[in-house]
């Protein structure tokens, strides 16, 4: 019984240590991203230019060709 308990305890301890290590590492990495504004640099220099290129080349409907339907809906009556 004792042996079994110890094994479980060790496994649990290792798992907790790994979890703690993972959380710490994530915190350090995120803090580096935060402090050196790596999020901003990535968005400004990579993501936004790519998105803008996509938006600039998008096919768009020529809205000026839409008819201006004056009589499509029933005329409005002011009731008061």
């Amino acid at each position: 019984m004792k042996k079994c308990k110890c094994k479980c305890g060790c496994k649990l301890g290792k798992l907790l240590a790994k979890l703690l290590g993972g959380v710490l590492l994530a915190n350090v990495v995120l803090f580096i991203v935060f402090f050196f504004d790596l999020d901003g640099k990535f968005l400004f220099k990579v993501v936004e230019p790519l998105l803008c290129k996509h938006y600039d080349n998008m096919e768009r409907k020529d809205t000026l060709k839409s008819p201006y339907d004056m009589d499509k809906y029933p005329s409005y009556q002011f009731n008061s």
Binding site: F35, D37, F44, L64
Partner: protein
């Protein structure tokens, strides 16, 4: 080589508490032109960690959870791919908070970013509803969300649709695609201004109206609702916007006018009737009757927000313990009061109340370097709403209050239908860019009583170069400033268009005023002159 004398005690103190105001040299943190940070500011251990966990990480995490909560990642991804204003703005939201909160410490840092959190949540809620209902990203198919969404101009107060809010969601047409984008990423709106001029419309009307029309010219507006309610506010350029929206969107439309001279009791009665007509129109379009109980429920919630706002004003006016900075105060208030009731406002107000009460009870001055208490008047440059953060860091100018915050100075009675309608008409007519901008001299000159009430000794006078209404009273303000011996500087701008008067030029104007008229030295000389022309 001379040996450097390092004061390790001071280094340790700066590390632990952050550098004192005069030594921060915040301007040296920027990369040239882009406004990106070489590194974010070290504010001392406690404040840096607070900003990292409770602002940066918290807001990034909630930007994801909000997307999941309000419409899911697929609608969001489709929206980002389809609409420029969405993709270019959403991703840069955290840097919007950065710009607004530079240099803040302690309680100021704990109160101000909650306002950004509120606005980001509300923005995501709106655009996700648009995407959930949009026919353009689902091959023209109309779904249940489309049939249950009401579209209206951003200048129509969201409260008009409270009676249907248990069954329908009302989403302002331009609040996110135009208004929010200008603050968060000022590049986006240039596309829409240029688009409307490219079809031959003149370049001198209000650029807000140009941009709002340009969204439709470029076919960059989701089709998310079966009908719309438009408004003539702020001016006749807005009427032109509605005409273009009517043409390009081609939906049943109700124009809900907003009278200019609203002090006239007959005009007030006329406005009440117009609101009732609008309600009839909504009933006809939705097939759902007006729900008085729902209206009362929502108005009571909105009144709670107003009551807290009054408490905030009291603290701002009568003490030095107000923890909210100029840009947070201005943007949150105009957004909240115009959009109307939303759960997130109550959540954020609760957080801010805690900080504010702590400041008052412990007599904490969150802006200890204040040299002048400033009131900002008229309509602000949307691309540089965070100028007041810079002005405090550089010159000690603390923008305590602004015109847009003060417009909706009322709760709405719910004791009877007549009283309620009457108050709603007043609220409707006290809209942004109307009551104190083009609503008559008496209201425009409410500046003087508010200057006294908020104990301000300086005016930042916005000068919207393309607003024919406010341009007409420029000289009258000049005369009054001289007569009353008021320290005031003008800030020319073209509302959303950062190309007309750049941020750098605005800073130069304030620098000139502070050196040549006030004969003062900057608190942080590194912020006097830097190039952020490509900045979001």
């Amino acid at each position: 080589m001379a040996k450097k004398n390092r004061d390790y005690k001071k280094l340790a103190r700066d590390f632990w508490y952050g550098k004192p105001h005069g030594e921060r040299r915040l301007g040296e943190l920027y990369e040239d032109k882009t406004g990106l940070y070489k590194h974010r500011e070290w504010r001392g251990v406690s404040d840096t960690l607070y900003y990292f966990y409770n602002v940066w990480l918290y807001n990034y995490a909630h930007m994801v959870t909000d997307v999941m909560k309000y419409g899911g990642p697929i609608n969001f991804a489709k929206g980002v791919w389809r609409y420029r204003w969405l993709g270019q703005t959403y991703l840069t939201a955290i840097h919007w908070i950065d710009r607004g909160t530079e240099g803040l410490r302690g309680e100021a840092l704990r109160a101000s970013p909650w306002h950004h959190r509120g606005m980001i949540n509300s923005t995501i809620k709106q655009f996700q509803r648009m995407m959930k209902a949009d026919t353009k990203i689902r091959g023209g198919k109309k779904n249940d969300a489309w049939y249950h969404t009401i579209a209206h101009n951003e200048t129509v107060w969201g409260g008009m649709f409270y009676p249907w809010s248990d069954k329908f969601e009302s989403v302002p047409i331009e609040m996110v695609p135009y208004f929010v984008t200008c603050h968060v990423n000022c590049h986006t709106v240039h596309n829409y201004i240029d688009a409307v001029q490219s079809i031959g419309l003149p370049g001198d009307p209000c650029p807000m109206c140009q941009a709002e029309s340009g969204l439709f010219v470029l076919d960059d507006m989701p089709d998310y609702a079966p009908f719309m309610v438009t408004c003539n506010e702020a001016c006749d350029a807005s009427v032109a916007t509605s005409t273009l929206q009517d043409w390009f969107w081609d939906k049943p439309l109700f124009a809900l006018p907003m009278p200019m001279q609203f002090d006239d009791p007959l005009v007030h009665k006329y406005c009440m009737k117009e609101i009732e007509e609008c309600w009839k129109f909504v009933e006809e379009q939705t097939g759902v009757p007006f729900n008085w109980d729902q209206l009362v429920k929502m108005l009571k919630l909105q009144n709670e927000l107003q009551e807290f706002e009054w408490e905030k004003w009291d603290v701002a006016a009568k003490t030095d313990f107000y923890p909210i900075n100029g840009v947070s105060q201005a943007l949150y208030r105009i957004y909240q009061s115009q959009y109307g009731e939303n759960e997130i406002w109550h959540f954020c107000d609760k957080k801010v109340r805690k900080v504010m009460e702590r400041c008052v009870s412990k007599k904490i001055n969150p802006y200890p370097q204040t040299r002048h208490r400033v009131i900002a008047w008229s309509c602000a440059p949307l691309y540089y709403s965070h100028w007041c953060t810079w002005a405090y860091n550089c010159w000690g100018l603390n923008v305590v209050i602004n015109m847009d915050s003060l417009m909706f100075d009322m709760t709405i009675r719910t004791d009877s239908y007549e009283n309620c309608l009457s108050d709603m008409a007043t609220y409707h007519m006290w809209a942004p860019m109307r009551r104190m901008a083009v609503g008559g001299m008496h209201h425009i000159f409410e500046l003087w009583e508010n200057m006294e009430k908020f104990n301000c000794d300086m005016v930042a006078m916005y000068d919207q170069l393309q607003c024919k209404g406010m341009q007409g009273v420029h000289g009258l303000f000049e005369d009054e400033f001289r007569k009353r011996n008021v320290n005031a500087f003008w800030m020319p701008h073209a509302l959303p268009d950062s190309r007309t008067v750049s941020r750098m030029e605005l800073r130069r104007i304030i620098n000139d005023y502070m050196t040549t008229v006030m004969h003062e030295e900057p608190l942080d000389p590194s912020l006097l002159d830097f190039d952020d022309s490509m900045s979001w």
